[in-house]
């Protein structure tokens, strides 16, 4: 078990006397390989706080998080008994806004910044940078450009490349596709899915797009008002009655399948999870 939350509570201080409760009694385990998890929930429900606990950027007020055998607890971190950098090397977290991390003169320097912090030699880091920039859908000519003259989507890709270059075992992305056009979004999601499939890595994505969840996720986590209310299969989630209570949308494909069955009496043999699967299933039935 790579990451294990054990009854974690977390409160943001400073806002009023009580503070803002962001996580309550969260228990959860995540494997170090082979998982593709999406994390959904309303704004302010604690999604970002949850993932920031996964690489020890935030530390639980009570309870503990086990990350690759290192027990991250408040007291231990305060007294500097544990080193946090090895954790961050293994669990890579891409922030929602690339502006928070880009700072170097060139894209190349920015991408190699992470690996070099973890002691990777310059030469190897440059090689990795050349390969990751292609993975995120840009070409090598971008490496010499300034990260500040890029468009929003390009910045986003560079910031993802910066984390990919660290070669983490678990990749966490906080709304990686916000601000991208549909084409770029799909391409990038394919990239994450490829990373997950080819390298058998665990990928965790925070998203508001239910289609992504339904198409790619093997496991869904739903956060609501600081509680983890659902942990399991996406099909069960979207066919249950709870989705309305949790203010979640029904994915387009599922919505269309339901309507086909209800209004036109067409029942499919399989349960399609993506648009292309739905077309295939329809062709099969209508032939």
């Amino acid at each position: 078990m790579a990451i294990k939350f054990n009854r974690v509570d977390f409160k943001y201080k400073g806002e009023g006397k009580k503070g803002y409760l962001a996580l309550s009694n969260i228990s959860l385990s995540i494997q170090g390989e082979g998982e593709f998890i999406t994390l959904i929930g309303e704004t302010g429900s604690g999604k970002t706080t949850l993932v920031q606990h996964m690489n020890a950027l935030l530390v639980a007020d009570s309870g503990s998080v086990d990350i690759y055998g290192i027990k991250v607890e408040k007291e231990a971190v305060k007294k500097k008994k544990i080193r946090l950098n090895p954790i961050r090397k293994k669990v890579g977290l891409v922030f929602q806004f690339p502006e928070y991390q880009l700072f170097e003169e060139t894209v190349l320097k920015d991408i190699t910044f992470g690996p070099k912090n973890f002691g990777v030699p310059e030469k190897d880091a440059v090689e990795t940078a050349k390969s990751v920039i292609k993975i995120v859908g840009l070409d090598e000519s971008y490496l010499e450009r300034s990260p500040f003259n890029l468009s929003g989507g390009e910045k986003k890709r560079v910031s993802i490349a910066g984390i990919l270059a660290m070669e983490p075992d678990i990749l966490i992305l906080d709304e990686p596709t916000s601000g991208l056009d549909p084409l770029g979004r799909n391409a990038l999601l394919k990239v994450f899915f490829d990373i997950h499939q080819k390298l058998n890595k665990t990928v965790i994505i925070i998203t508001h797009d239910m289609n992504t969840v339904y198409e790619y996720a093997k496991r869904v986590l739903v956060m609501r008002d600081s509680y983890l209310v659902y942990d399991g299969d996406p099909v069960n989630l979207f066919t249950s009655k709870n989705i309305e209570n949790w203010n979640l949308d029904v994915p387009d494909v599922l919505d269309l399948t339901n309507k086909l069955e209800r209004d036109l009496g067409i029942s499919l043999k399989t349960r399609p999870r993506s648009a292309s699967d739905l077309t295939k299933a329809l062709e099969e039935v209508l032939r």
Binding site: L57, N85, L102
Partner: protein, 321 residues
């Protein structure tokens, strides 16, 4: 970072919250002026007593004010120590002969090394630091280990103690007073108040409205930028930047990785703010109507008279004594 109080409004109750911002600003000027004029110990202690009383009566969280003063501690301590060491006016109060011998220096080095290793484990780091500093001087002054290769004298003069004390007290009083103003006044009210107080300057063609706007926007953005800084630190920490340790060379890199995004974000934010203001038809220098009108109450008159009385009292005491 989170407990920096300067410039942050904290909602609360108490008469200071209900007062007109104009009163608070003018009273602040009077009281600050008084703090500069005071030259004798009794008056200074009375002034500090009044200030503490004001905090109590205004129901302001004193711990909050003190935690805001914490970053100033080093500045205050160094001002005081520099006064002690370099001010040579007035009567001689105390004099020590400093004995620089190899063994003495060894003892001092041992003290500093102990401080360096123990400091992380101790509470009250600041007092510990001061104690060590005093300890170093005390060691040189008292120990007589082996022959000295050089000697020096440490003279402390009466003026040094007095000036040091007054500088420290004045800074404390001024910062506490201005913290009270910003703690109890909403940025929008502060803006209105400043504008209104500065409006006589219009005679000299100074654009007071814009100045007030600039001041209030900068005050408003201090907490926002601190929050941003915190987020940047988290983002860089997840790329392996460890802000709590590292060699000097690494430290520079850490600071650059924090400052560059900080600058970019500030510029971007100010650009967005300018656009948002223009989108709502803000034109610099044009007369505007106001949502909130300032109202002058009886309490305001009383507060103003009291602060004026304090100023007069201080001036009289200075003239008389």
């Amino acid at each position: 970072m989170k407990n920096i109080v300067i410039g942050r409004f904290v909602p609360g109750k108490g008469f200071l919250y209900r007062m007109d911002p104009r009163t608070k600003i003018i009273a602040l000027v009077f009281l600050m002026a008084s703090a500069f004029i005071i030259r004798d110990f009794t008056t200074m202690f009375v002034a500090v007593g009044l200030l503490v009383a004001l905090l109590f009566v205004g129901r302001i969280n004193i711990i909050r004010v003190f935690s805001g003063l914490r970053p100033l501690m080093y500045l205050l301590a160094f001002t005081f120590i520099f006064q002690l060491l370099f001010n040579t006016q007035g009567d001689l109060v105390a004099s020590w002969e400093l004995h620089y011998s190899p063994l003495n220096i060894l003892a001092v080095t041992m003290l500093v090394v102990t401080w360096f290793f123990v400091r992380r484990r101790l509470p009250f780091k600041f007092f510990f630091f001061i104690a060590t500093f005093v300890g170093v001087i005390a060691l040189f002054a008292t120990l007589r280990l082996g022959p000295a290769f050089a000697t020096g004298t440490l003279n402390i003069h009466q003026n040094a103690i007095e000036t040091g004390f007054f500088i420290v007290m004045r800074l404390l009083v001024i910062v506490t007073l201005s913290t009270i103003l910003t703690l109890t006044t909403k940025p929008t009210d502060l803006n209105l108040g400043l504008e209104s107080v500065m409006s006589p300057l219009k005679v000299f063609r100074i654009r007071t409205e814009e100045m007030a706007m600039i001041i209030s926007i900068s005050l408003r953005y201090i907490p926002t930028l601190l929050d941003e800084a915190n987020k940047i630190m988290l983002a860089q920490a997840s790329r392996g930047v460890d802000f709590s340790e590292g060699k000097f060379k690494d430290k520079i890199m850490q600071i650059v990785s924090l400052l560059v995004p900080m600058f970019i974000i500030s510029f971007k934010r100010s650009d967005e703010l300018a656009n948002a203001m223009e989108a709502r038809s803000f034109v610099p220098g044009q007369p505007r109507t106001r949502l909130h009108q300032l109202t002058w109450g009886f309490a305001d008159t009383v507060a103003l008279v009291v602060s004026l009385l304090v100023l007069t009292a201080v001036i009289t005491s200075r003239v008389v004594m």
